[in-house]
Symmetry: C2
Subunit: 384 residues, 2 copies
């Protein structure tokens, strides 16, 4: 983590010793040279859309209008035209993410009455293929709404039966025009299948705040403390301080975690305030080169840079906080009990050349090594 | 620029032919392989602070308070403690900038009653040393204020006599508490020495807007149309639309150009609106790893990414606009008449691997070639 130079002994996928010049006489041990870089726990990219990236395809000019509804509609059209195989696309993007040091992913996967379970099945297939590179947690995501598209609940049920670990949602007020209805449907699924919830909430200001409260109500009623996430939650960066503090108190009480990717051109949750209040903050790449955005490199160190840049974090403490969100924040939300660079932790690690944690966030150099369950899976920026 | 694959013939530092598979039989011509990447005019980094970067020094935790005044004071203290040689530091940062594709720089150089002309002399020395890599335009910059530090005007005069091409200024209202006084002093210097003006204006909202108007008044009175720049001008992103449009009309009338580096955590000028109105917008790295900020890589392609990311530019047109600001915008402000990738232009060029201009802004890969006056000065991301 930027401390003293040392060796790390890994056995059976776990860190068993850390120290200076470890001598290991009892067994032949393969050695991976970190070149004196900084050892971090591997990144957790806890908000991706693996199923619909154009990664590896020719450049496609962005063609969507500015609103969430525009983008959903544009994507449905493109999807039909392009017909990219979700399994191949997901695998491509996972490999890119791994090359940048990520070994744990939470991905939302579109489930709607058009694609049905095609994307979900594709991501399941990719998940199996990349098992040795990364662990993937799947959110069954009703991208096109729930109530406004009859048949969606049944498809979500099928995805949950088929292995999705969480159920998603999206702007219950503006997409379905029935916030209570969408949230009741989602939480009902969560209860029946015993899964967590992760809801996209782009809705702004007071409209977003109302829905946060409605999510909190249902979290409390179902005893789902610690199992609900809200992604984006722009409203937390828009409402006045009094309202924001009331909302934070709810999030803390119900252990609702907040995902932000530090968007470039709109308000987003005030990260430091959330953390100081005790809210778990996590992050992710969100869309990477897809119908929603041309941006993205699936690089969580770059994401830490953006979190810091957008939040005005300049001190070492601030830069380390951004890095913490890209590592431990996501690990906490995904529920990785054995995460870190301590003896006993699973050996999911990344080595980045640099002097301090702050230096890494600022410079974002190629990753020297990426280690997954004790095995080197990427070297000098490339998957092996 | 992303068009057809072709060859470019350079002679005596200028582009003399562009075409497919040029045959050059009359003379032995050395060939530099661009690998099929995109040829762009080299970047123009038109707002740097070369004299005070910590580039190449060990990581130094950021230690300044949040206000401009805090940062000025903190920097003065650090400067006395660290005593980094400005010539060496400037040269280091220029080499980094060149490795990322920049060949033209406008740098502000601190001139105040503490450092006197030490930084200025250092940058002059560096400018001479890196002459074959980059052209550097110097702004004599009263970082600590003008009127509030008697003796500053005389130092600025000495810098202008010594070769500074422009005179700078900083927040006349908040730093000197006398906006008319500082602006009169600066414009008087500009008139007497026949130089341009580039003023740092961080002051917010109406306070910034007032000073923009005062700058416009003096630009008109002295007939300095096209020779005045305002750097940052956060106020243009803060005032209401009516006031903003009035200010834009003044900027257009007086050909006052606006520099933004797309700051992470504060409002900044609405780039597209400025461009549509006819304002010249340019950009720069601003501080790179110095007392003001730990951020920065002196990479204008990354700056184009930040301009686009912060402005919500997603279409090809928007991404190309960001790139245009990092190239032609700066070239116009610096006054490069022979800038571009056309026959007759000076051969200051950069080759970046990628498919389209948008792809370059999004992915920002290492530069394949950087060419300065027809000579390869950097290759695969490294100065040679």
């Amino acid at each position: 983590m930027g401390g003293a130079l040392g060796d790390v002994l890994i056995r059976a996928g776990r860190i068993t010793r850390i120290g200076q010049q470890l001598s290991v006489s009892d067994v032949e041990v393969p050695v991976a040279d970190g070149g004196g870089g900084i050892l971090l726990p591997a990144f957790v990219d806890a908000h991706m859309h693996l199923d619909k990236t154009f990664w590896g395809e020719p450049w496609r000019p962005h063609s969507a209008g500015p609103t969430v509804a525009d983008r959903i509609e544009n994507e449905r059209t493109l999807r039909r035209e392009m017909r990219l195989p979700p399994a191949r696309q997901a695998e491509r993007l996972v490999r890119q993410a791994v090359s940048r040091g990520t070994t744990h992913i939470r991905t939302h996967v579109d489930v709607d009455t058009d694609v049905k379970l095609e994307n979900f099945d594709g991501v399941l297939e990719a998940r199996d293929r990349v098992r040795s590179l990364a662990t993937i947690q799947i959110v069954a995501f009703p991208q096109s709404g729930v109530l406004s598209r009859p048949g969606t609940v049944e498809l979500l049920e099928a995805a949950l039966r088929g292995g999705a670990e969480l159920v998603g949602g999206i702007d219950p007020a503006t997409i379905d025009r029935d916030p209570a209805g969408q949230l009741d449907a989602i939480f009902d699924l969560a209860e029946r299948f015993g899964v967590g919830v992760d809801i996209h909430l782009h809705d702004a200001g007071e409209l977003g705040a109302l829905q946060l409260r409605m999510i909190a109500d249902r979290t409390r009623a179902l005893g789902m403390q610690g199992r609900v996430s809200v992604s984006h939650a722009f409203c937390l960066g828009m409402v006045d301080e009094t309202e924001r503090e009331r909302l934070l108190a709810l999030l803390v009480e119900l252990r609702i975690s907040i995902m932000t990717n530090a968007p470039g051109d709109r308000p987003f949750p005030p990260i430091r305030r959330l953390r100081d209040a005790g809210v778990t903050v996590f992050s992710g790449s969100d869309g990477v080169r897809d119908a929603w955005t041309p941006f993205g490199t699936a690089d969580m160190l770059e994401r830490a840079f953006l979190l810091a840049y957008r939040s005005g974090f300049r001190t070492d403490e601030g830069l380390a906080l951004a890095l913490d969100i890209a590592t431990r924040g996501g690990a906490a939300v995904i529920g990785l009990g054995d995460y870190g660079v301590d003896v006993g932790c699973a050996a999911n690690l990344v080595v980045v050349p640099g002097e301090t944690q702050g230096d890494l966030v600022v410079a974002r150099p190629a990753r020297t090594l990426v280690i997954r369950d004790g095995r080197v899976v990427a070297k000098d920026g490339h998957c092996i």
